[in-house]
Symmetry: C2
Subunit: 141 residues, 2 copies
Amino acid sequence: MQPTKTDRALPLALLRARETVMSPIRRVLKNHDVTDQQWRVLRVLHENGVMDAKELAKSACVLAPSLTRIIKHLEQKNMLTRCADGKDGRRVLLAILPSGAALIESVTPEVQVIYQGLNDKYGAQKMSDLLDLLHDVVELR
Amino acid sequence: MQPTKTDRALPLALLRARETVMSPIRRVLKNHDVTDQQWRVLRVLHENGVMDAKELAKSACVLAPSLTRIIKHLEQKNMLTRCADGKDGRRVLLAILPSGAALIESVTPEVQVIYQGLNDKYGAQKMSDLLDLLHDVVELR
DNA sequence: ATAATTTAGTTAACATATTAATTAGTTTGC
DNA sequence: GCAAACTAATTAATATGTTAACTAAATTAT
């Protein structure tokens, strides 16, 4: 194996796979006027309830500076609220608002269809194997 | 399987895996004053010789507008050259220059070490399986 | 041949990624 | 109890991602 050869380079393979998967999903998100990062943030918040910014950033896989801007943006759209933590003056607590939840619930079924098509074409077993291998990569950290 | 559950979502898993792999590599690249995209562009060009912008963009997995900017940047650093294609006035032909090649050759060994460590910890067989599965994802396109 | 279409590349506008520096609040050490 | 160290979040600066619009060159169709 030649790890530096472009055609067997892991980072590039991960990027290409992500592009393939995200491309049709992005079209759906575009129709609903959200970027995929904004969608990720809202989704995580929808699943987990109230979270502070650090937890949210880690779960949604966005960096803190990006999250600051995304929050600002989503706050103006009334998708989420920001409030200070009473116990720790540094922390910012975030919660999804009804219009944010409504967005999630209207987008999710459309995305489900795409995921299902992907699963059918790719194979459920392979998909599961792939997810396991990807999680193992993250465990190396 | 719940494709919309964040903890089994393929795009997020791909993103997280990429972060894990790229993070130490980025530190190396940072020391050599290149971003990973610039490095990818130079690497592909180094492997393939003269290419036009479209081929390069596809191989390096960067979008055309990004490539335009990256080329401008790398041209100013004398890492590559741009010249018009005689046969097709629209095309731009690109070739790596000695200082670009020198950069690749000085960075590659350091990155090799990181890849090797990753391979050792993760396991060569699993790595190969993962790359195969990722290539299969791209084939779905 | 020439108008219509297609293609390659660039530019524009906005959003995010990345690192570093900064600010404000909290904890630790002595 | 207070200075030092740490932590959470924001701001700043530069580079890239993403879509759309645009320009120029080449192809196609009639």
